[in-house]
């Protein structure tokens, strides 16, 4: 028992294992390159490695435009993820706990933002906002992000809700809670890990979203929009890489947290 669980069977070398290692390297190398070259002491982004520096990190902290873009992204991310999580949770309650006519149509429509090309979603919302006369600002970006994230949030929470039965809510109601009280005091706390996972994964998506944001941002900048605009200047490339390295590491941390929460919740 102990021998088996401690180190496990030795890593048997096989074609499959070798391929797995290669594939993993393929997945991680580009990301590692970003991180490694963010510390490279050279104004151009090229081999060979030219020595260690932190100056790009220091330079990042001084860019007011960048800090503004980060702040914008954080605001849009927090608010849109909160709304997406609330709406996604409601939708999850509806599809798990209720049967209603048109349920399968609703499911199809709700799944569409997951697969529809971003460019189509972006231009469709752009047309709507222009026709109605809503100026393009961070608010329109946020609305776009809510629609992008609503389906993910719904699916994550629905998986959790399906894991325990409606009897729990009924039991709470038998004990004197009204329906909404039962949802608030019983269902919601029990689904909390899924709600947090939905919020965090919405936030990472929003923080990183470019394809739809591009059409909805007007003259406001989010972090990805800023990053993209900097690519035109070769001299800014080391800064872009440094910024990318930071965003990547943050993104990995949040992804790990989401994964842990999802394991806890299902």
């Amino acid at each position: 028992m102990l021998a088996k669980s401690s180190i496990g069977r030795r890593f048997t070398f096989s074609l499959g294992a070798a391929y797995f290692v290669l594939f993993t390297a393929f997945m991680y190398l580009p990301i590692l390159l970003l991180v490694v070259f963010s510390f490279n002491d050279s104004p151009t982004l090229a081999f060979p490695w030219n020595g260690f520096t932190l100056r790009w990190y220091a330079a990042l902290a001084q860019s007011t435009e960048l800090i503004k873009a980060v702040w914008n992204s954080v605001l849009v991310g927090l608010l849109s993820s909160l709304i997406a999580t609330v709406l996604g949770t409601l939708a999850a309650l509806g599809i798990v706990r209720f049967n209603f006519p048109g349920k399968s149509i609703f499911l199809s429509v709700a799944a569409m933002p997951l697969v529809i090309p971003a460019v189509v979603m972006g231009v469709a919302m752009l047309i709507l906002f222009t026709m109605v006369g809503i100026p393009l600002t961070l608010w329109t970006v946020g609305l776009g992000h809510v629609i992008i994230n609503l389906p993910y949030a719904m699916l994550i929470v629905a998986a959790r809700l399906a894991g325990f039965e409606a009897h729990i809510e009924e039991a709470a109601m038998d004990l004197g809670a009204n329906y909404w009280g039962a949802l608030w005091r019983v269902t919601l706390p029990m689904s909390m890990p899924a709600l947090v996972a939905a919020f965090l994964s919405s936030f990472t998506t929003s923080f990183d979203e470019f394809a739809v944001t591009f059409f909805l941002a007007g003259s406001d900048t989010t972090l990805p929009i800023y990053l993209f605009s900097q690519l035109r200047f070769p001299s800014r490339l080391p800064l872009v890489v440094t910024l990318a390295a930071i965003m990547m590491l943050l993104s990995v941390l949040i992804v790990l947290a989401v994964e842990k929460l999802r394991r806890m919740s299902t």
């Binding site: 496990g8 069977r9 096989s14 499959g16 294992a17 391929y19 797995f20 997945m27 991680y28 580009p30 990301i31 390159l33 970003l34 982004l45 081999f47 060979p48 409601l90 939708a91 309650l93 509806g94 209720f98 209603f100 609703f106 709700a110 569409m112 933002p113 697969v115 529809i116 090309p117 971003a118 460019v119 189509v120 979603m121 231009v123 469709a124 919302m125 047309i127 709507l128 809510v146 629609i147 609503l150 719904m154 009897h167 009924e170 329906y179 990472t204 923080f207 990183d208 470019f210 591009f214 059409f215 990053l227 690519l231 890489v241 990318a244 990547m248 993104s251 992804v255 790990l256 994964e259």
Partner: protein, 294 residues
């Protein structure tokens, strides 16, 4: 269970309560999807019936349809983008299948950990993963300068320049891990006794794979294939970053109609055509997903 409900309630009252609750619960998300997702798509559909450029004279007509049908360059680009997506999706399946197979049949107890290791980069930033390839590819990119530095080549290799190949490589990098998931799910459900039975009946392993494993994994392969093909067909960010002039895709031209050419009606038709092409695949995708869930 129903006997526990307060006895004073009639069935009709209970039904009315249920409806009110359902309305309050489904109302907000339903309304959000309607107003900000379905209505925009509908308006986009109406826009195709207009002609002219934004800011200029706009009139109701079928002219935009005519100009789309007459524009063979657009149609050729759509065809080429379809081929790029097809190539990308097939490569993703080919790369991901052995991974899924290894995890499902050979990796033992560590399979979920190994699966997570593969999938974590895929869940991180989409934009940054494309950006990384912009820095790697290109004549003065990391790959070329690395090869020059170690002396494997003595001038920048043209294959690494911004091109359609660069778009495919980047898209495969971005999407391959996502394909491993459904294939793994399909392979993992296969009853291992089927393979033992095939062996007992004298079938060599490769034959058992062709006749048992492969057919049973096809719903996963289909789901994986479509989960790449559908979103990449409209892709514009990857070609923008690594495609150069030769790598542009249909999505770039849609973007162009809205940002530079300001021909919104034409852009709307192009989007509509894309959606119509994707619709059957979307339905097929839901079907393959259902097969996997069952």
């Amino acid at each position: 269970m129903t006997t526990l409900a307060p006895p004073i309630r009639t069935a009709a009252q209970a039904e009315a309560t249920r409806r009110r609750r359902l309305l309050l619960i489904m109302g907000p998300p339903g309304l959000a999807l309607l107003v900000f997702f379905l209505v925009p798509l509908g308006i986009m559909g109406l826009y195709t019936l207009r002609s002219g450029t934004l800011g200029g004279e706009m009139a109701w007509s079928l002219d935009t349809y005519r100009s789309f049908l007459a524009n063979t360059a657009l149609q050729r680009l759509l065809w080429r983008s379809t081929l790029v997506s097809l190539q990308t999706s097939l490569l993703c399946v080919l790369l991901a299948y052995p991974i899924a197979y290894y995890l499902a049949f050979r990796a033992g107890e560590r399979r979920m950990t190994l699966l997570t290791i593969i999938i974590i980069p895929a869940w991180t930033s989409y934009l940054l993963r494309i950006l990384a390839w912009k820095l790697i590819l290109g004549s003065s990119g990391l790959l070329n300068t690395f090869l020059l530095w170690v002396g494997w080549i003595d001038q920048p290799a043209p294959i690494l320049l911004f091109s359609q190949t660069a778009v495919v490589v980047t898209l495969v990098y971005v999407w391959a891990p996502f394909v491993a998931l459904p294939i793994f799910a399909a392979l993992d459900r296969i009853d291992k006794r089927l393979l033992e039975a095939a062996a007992d009946l004298g079938s060599p392993p490769w034959y058992a794979f062709v006749r048992v494993t492969l057919p049973l994994s096809l719903p996963g392969v289909l789901a994986g294939f479509l989960s790449v093909f559908i979103p990449t067909l409209g892709e514009y960010v990857t070609p923008l970053l690594v495609g150069g002039v030769n790598g542009i895709m249909y999505g770039n031209l849609i973007q162009d109609q809205f940002v530079r050419a300001l021909n919104w009606p034409l852009g709307s038709i192009m989007s509509l055509v894309l959606l119509v092409l994707l619709l059957p695949m979307f339905l097929l995708f839901r079907r393959s997903d259902d097969l996997l869930q069952r």
